[in-house]
């Protein structure tokens, strides 16, 4: 039977996580429908229809869906569920918010953060901050999955052949209401999909120094900026910059860790990067165990030197 992909988007555009989740879905089966739940979301639906391998795009528009609040969005997915034997979403904050609610309403055990499709009912997923990989088989008739997008290549953008079909969301009780989004604005690339990430840790010492040391190197490289939990907790960087077990999972071509010790919770979010560079004054710091290239030294000396030499 078919697969329903609950897409991540902001009405105006489709996030790259959706294309990556589609890459995963197509490994399970060929009949994949993409659900765009939103309001004024034609642009996102068209972007989804242009992805290679999509059968149909379902466009559900209503005011309560504008920000994909969990209650109406889960109700919508449950309404559509009968036609599918797999329902999946990228493991973004939206997918992680909505999909477990769907799973419980359908009495299904969700499989979170899938990193590999072994068979249509069997999946690999990291546990214990990525220190072990669990191979699980579902015994449920329907499977509900969130996909770790860093582990899958995005489906290609094709020629826009898939039809966009409107669906009517059934009325759902208004249990909660949207207030406002306070989004970080930045000209830099998005952290989760950037090709290069420059991350700073507690060693930066202040927000001013974080910005004075990390940002220029990131800008020279066209990189996104990341941070350790310690740097975020201390207010040096915004919460959405956190990389790790409980932050974002990234796998760029190049990850540069500056003044980050390499706690397991941080490694969980970046150790699948293709090339890792570590700069740390402590030659014994655990970050060096995963680094391809390490420099033992002071970040306040090394990082500006790199920036100047580029």
């Amino acid at each position: 039977m078919a697969i329903l992909l609950f897409a991540d988007h902001d009405n105006a555009s489709l996030s790259e996580h959706s294309a990556r989740a589609l890459g995963a879905a197509l490994q399970i089966g060929p009949e994949v429908d993409i659900l765009i739940a939103g309001q004024g979301a034609c642009a996102a639906a068209d972007a989804a229809a242009a992805l290679a391998g999509v059968r149909r795009v379902l466009l559900a528009e209503a005011d309560p869906l504008a920000e994909r609040m969990a209650e109406p969005t889960a109700a919508l997915i449950v309404q559509l569920a009968v036609d599918y034997d797999t329902i999946l979403a990228p493991a973004t904050s939206s997918g992680k918010n909505v999909l477990p609610r769907v799973a419980a309403l359908l009495d299904v055990m969700q499989i979170s953060e899938v990193t590999q499709i072994v068979a249509p009912d069997t999946f690999k997923r990291p546990i214990y901050a990525g220190n072990a990989i669990e191979v699980v088989q579902s015994t449920d008739a329907l499977r509900v999955l969130t996909i770790r997008s860093a582990s899958f290549a995005p489906a290609a953008t094709g020629d826009g052949a898939a039809p966009v079909v409107a669906v009517d969301p059934a009325a759902a009780p208004a249990l909660s209401s949207f207030g406002q989004n306070l989004l970080s604005v930045s000209d830099r690339p998005d952290l989760s999909s950037a090709r290069i990430v420059v991350s700073g840790g507690r060693a930066l010492g202040s927000k001013q120094r974080f910005e004075a040391v990390i940002n220029p190197l990131a800008d020279k490289l066209g990189a996104a900026v990341g941070a350790s939990r310690a740097a975020v907790d201390a207010g040096y960087a915004a919460n959405d910059h956190q990389v790790g077990q409980t932050g974002k999972v990234v796998a760029p071509d190049l990850y540069i860790a500056c003044g980050i010790s390499g706690a397991i919770q941080h490694l969980a979010g970046m150790k699948d990067s293709r090339i890792i560079v570590a700069i740390n004054s402590d030659g014994e710091a655990p970050i060096f165990q995963v680094a391809d290239y390490g420099i033992v030294g002071d970040i306040f000396d090394i990082v500006p030197q790199m920036e100047r030499a580029l």
């Binding site: 969990a70 477990p100 069997t122 191979v135 088989q137 406002q180 939990r229 190049l254 995963v290 030499a309």
Partner: protein, 249 residues
């Protein structure tokens, strides 16, 4: 308003776990066990809300083995009033935990359930959302701030692009993110007092619930190790390697 806080006993976050060589699971023998760090944040939040007069009672509940009493006692020492242990050995999946919590929340007449956003052992990030679905309540996940407004709560959530504020109708399920608060350490007098606070035990069967897992764990593998790298002596050498050897810049 009564607040229910589910707390899970998990391997301590400082422990580096090992995968058993036969692939049957993770070796936790003699590993230090603690309260899931996110649940400490949830307990702290509930206790602060009681201290602020926004809650009348804080009830903590754990689903797990007899030793989960220890994490419940820790929660009591932090300021929770009462504890419930639902005795269950072995792997209990989030869907089953959510079903158990649904019964407990209904029996207790809770006005809010605050959970951790994620257990650091299974890394599922599901139980709160599932519980909200089963109860038919509103949900606010990944909370970094909770402000009470009569019949509603204004919750600030950590989302991918920054923060989001939503208003949930009570009763509601909230899951705690790292920035919600910094949990207190229990003082010695409070640890002593906690020993006398009520802790009752039940079983899933008492609640009329089967807890058979839906997922079969076929095996547990070691993650692929990275090949060991090198230390370079200068920035010039580093940039040269990144350009020629790794071809990433």
């Amino acid at each position: 308003m009564k607040i229910l806080v589910p707390v899970k006993r998990v391997v301590d976050h400082n422990v580096k776990i090992r995968v058993k060589t036969d692939g049957s699971g993770v070796d936790l023998a003699n590993a230090k066990m603690s309260m899931n760090p996110f649940d400490e944040i949830a307990v702290e939040q509930a206790v602060r809300m009681k201290e602020a007069g926004e809650a009348t009672e804080v009830v903590v509940v754990s689903v797990g083995p007899a030793q989960a009493q220890e994490v419940l006692r820790t929660a009591l020492a932090m300021g929770a009033d009462r504890a419930i242990l639902i005795l269950a050995d072995g792997r209990v999946e989030p869907l089953s935990v959510a079903k158990i919590l649904q019964r407990v929340a209904q029996a207790e007449g809770a006005g809010m359930v605050i959970l951790g956003k994620q257990a650091i052992d299974d890394d599922c990030n599901q139980t709160g959302q599932m519980l909200a679905a089963l109860l038919g309540w509103s949900q606010a996940t990944f909370a970094s701030k909770i402000e009470m407004e009569g019949a509603h709560a204004l919750v600030t959530r950590e989302i991918d692009g920054g923060l989001q504020q939503i208003r949930v109708t009570l009763p509601a399920v909230v899951t705690a993110d790292l920035r919600l608060n910094e949990p207190r350490y229990a003082s010695l007098p409070n640890i002593m007092k906690a020993k006398k606070k009520p802790l009752v035990q039940q079983t899933p069967e008492d609640l009329g619930l089967p807890i058979a897992p839906r997922l079969t764990v076929l095996r547990v593998e070691e993650p692929v190790a990275r090949a060991s790298g090198i230390k370079v002596g200068s920035v010039a050498e580093l940039l040269d390697k990144l350009k020629t050897e790794a071809a990433v810049i």
